[in-house]
């Protein structure tokens, strides 16, 4: 079983000191280690953004792709080799900006994948523009007079799109986040974890202090994670109190479960050395 140290490659994160991404990296490594997974059994894909560099700093298989495309990349990987434990990390711009189409469709597909969205409500890597999750009125480099739109609600969007495990974590609580990542990875189906991840450099509104005084754990209250309608209402809660924890959990067969092509063997293990096409040619007579 790899320890957290084993999961730490030589190259060091290039994030700003104090960035909320460090906590997510720690939680991911903790979860892999605590679940007893071997390095080669895990694959992490990502898009582009500060957050999307995470795969470079966990010593498992990784695919750091392009902006917004971590989900389709992992979809292809998972279908090719469904034995791999598959995870995606990326930012809010990546997930619900440029990648929104994939976000929705990946959830209705319900592949057995864990998706961690680093929600810092800002574009970090491109140095501080508004994001789809920025609060209305927020002043950023691309919205110097304040954001006009209302933010996307990723949790609610995930629930209505068919994700079968939907949770919210917070970079200020690594222990809780580790548990969420573990639960997400153990969940059979699409697990979405939105992580409140302060960007200490460009988001001066949604800071650690901002969240510390607001977050509370749903699981410490009398909350039913199987009630979908209630979970959607809960996902709207943003103000004096901000919920973290599991919002919604359900069971549904995964996309791969419904493919007889995968019943005996992963695609990648299937022999292609001598495929016979004579009968299809015959059929065209």
């Amino acid at each position: 079983m790899p320890s957290v140290a084993d999961l730490t490659p030589k190259s060091k994160p290039t994030w700003c000191p104090g960035c909320g991404d460090f906590a997510i990296l720690a939680a991911v490594k903790n979860a892999i280690s605590q679940l007893g997974l071997q390095k080669h059994e895990v694959m992490i894909a990502s898009g582009i953004g500060c957050s999307s560099k995470l795969p470079h700093w966990v010593d498992v298989n990784g695919f750091h792709s392009i902006h917004g495309r971590g989900l389709p990349i992992i979809t292809g990987i998972k279908l090719a080799n469904h034995k791999l434990h598959c995870m995606v990390t990326g930012g809010d711009g990546d997930g619900v900006g440029i990648g929104t189409n994939h976000f929705i469709h990946a959830m209705r597909r319900n592949l057995d994948i864990t998706y961690i969205m680093h929600d810092n409500q800002i574009y970090g890597l491109t140095k501080g523009q508004t994001s789809p999750t920025s609060e209305k009125g927020m002043h950023t480099k691309s919205t110097p007079f304040g954001v006009i739109e209302i933010p996307i609600n990723p949790i609610g969007l995930a629930i209505v799109s068919g994700a079968t495990f939907v949770a919210q974590g917070y970079s200020g609580n690594i222990k809780h986040l580790t548990e969420l990542v573990k639960q997400g990875m153990q969940h059979r189906g699409f697990a979405f974890i939105n992580v409140l991840q302060p960007c200490v450099t460009f988001n001066h509104v949604n800071t650690f202090e901002f969240f510390d005084s607001r977050v509370y754990n749903l699981q410490e209250e009398n909350y039913d994670t199987t009630n979908k309608a209630n979970a959607i209402i809960k996902s709207e809660e943003w103000g004096e109190r901000i919920p973290i924890g599991v919002f919604y959990e359900t069971r549904r067969s995964t996309y791969a479960d419904e493919l007889p092509q995968l019943k005996d063997q992963a695609l990648v293990d299937q022999d292609i050395s001598n495929i016979n096409v004579e009968h299809i040619m015959e059929y065209l007579y």
């Binding site: 390095k39 080669h40 990784g62 392009i66 292809g76 995968l262 495929i275 096409v277 040619m281």
Partner: protein, 589 residues
Amino acid sequence: MEVSEILNKLTWKLGGQAGFGIMSAGLVFSRTLSRHGLHVFDTTEHPSLIRGGHNTYFVRAEDEPVYSQIWPLDMLVALNKETIDLHKNELISGGCIIYDGDEIKIDQEGLGRQDIKLFPVSILKMAKDCGGTALMRNAAALGACMGVIEGDFNTFEQVFRDTYKKKGQEILDKNIEIAWKGFEYARNNYANQYDKKIQQIHGAPRRMLINGNTAICIGAIKAGLKFYAAYPMTPASSILHFLAGHEREFNIITKHTEDEIAAMNMIIGAGSAGVRSMVATSGGGFALMVEALSLAGMAEIPLVAVNVTRAGPSTGLPTRQEQSDLQFIMNSGHGEFPKIVVCPGDPEECFYETFRAFNLAEKYQLQVIILSDKYLADANLTYEKWDTSPLKIDRGKLLNKEDLDKMSGPLDYKAFEVTQDGVSPRALPGHPNSVHRRTGNEHDEHGVISEDKNNRLAQMDKRMRKLNGAEAELPEPILFGDSDADITIISWGSTKMPVRQAMKFMHDEGIKVNHLHILYALPFNTKKIKQILQGCKKTLLIEGNKTAQMGHLISAKTGIMPDHEYLKYNAEPFYPEEICDQVKKILNR
């Protein structure tokens, strides 16, 4: 009236409103002629409409090889009046029109063509009398055609039953009954007035009737395709339909994705995990894929992408022909990375080149783009079954479990090792000694992001070197035809079909022509092509676009601009007759 017969040479066109079964009826007729032992070429024309537009299905059959459509039309089957108005002037003198005389009232005078024969058949009434639906009049129409040309009804019946197997016995029986009525009526009333006849050739080989898209599918299946992702787009969609229909039989996953961006990224994921993967689309869809194509170039992910061109720009003429994506495809993807662009010229090349594409993609860990077009996608040609015995899967430097077991640990493995041939050893995720990361950022040999200048040079040079190996193993371009020809036709892609047909005609007339078909646009074999062109007396470039895209490529690479060019961009394929005319004009014949 007694007529002297012309045996086993026929051109035929079925026309009518979209939504009235023109395409499937045409295919039945085409297959029927093929099963008579004839060589067949067929092609369709239809607007981008589900109902209401005008559809045609053209079939040409002969007892010697055919390569494309031709202009003169022998027999026109008109399911509506519009078909007659639009196509009567394509008919040769002595040609005939088969139509429903109860619905369409015409005479030769009104037509302005005294030299064509009118064969009215009450096809709708025949269908109704047998208790059939209006759509079943197509069976009566096809039966009538068979009657006029005195073909073998049993062969027709067998094709009909094979084609519509899924419809069930009862419906099939009814259709055959209706077809027989049409057959008998036409044979008894019109056969003796018509000179063209089709006869079963005994001992002719069994031939498949296959188009470019289907050939690509079979080539891909043979090559071990395991994952296919696509978003529907004419004229590529039939690839999706065919593969989806066969996915369980061959354990292939086909995925209709949310968009083309997803399709391309999914096959990149699947390719990185080690399965042979493909996408197919048309220009607009390909435009959405190119950002990811560039990722695949940087991360060295093998994949095969098919671009089935339609007339552009933008939505253009979605169901019609053009060869206007060559430069776009060759230059697709930002930055510089090695890729291969192959332009098959007929269904047979589609099959063999698709198979080869998968080997090339894995051997050189790069992207192979198959550039096809509407004409090639949909045109059916007859071939004897293709020989698959020489086709061997080659996965290049893919490390197997034993290779990986021998390594001391994952740091031993360099996914982007700088090698002499530019190709690095390839390991798939899933083995303890192959744990590595791929990225679209510039990276070092281990896949770690690096902006070091020397590393950049080493990695860029290594990637580009891969093309040298690929180029060396590709078939050299050749001159087809007379070695001392007076003129050389240069073309690429599907234009090969009408060019080869035109060459046959010109050969019969004693004109010496040869043909340079450029199969690989990338890597472009500059040395060989230059050598060929330098030896030509005159050259004529023929391509289906406005700006002579291949012409520019040739001149950029070889410094030689073709002497003459014949470009066509009216969204219709080339006809061999117009190619002959061009050649004759240049040669003053």
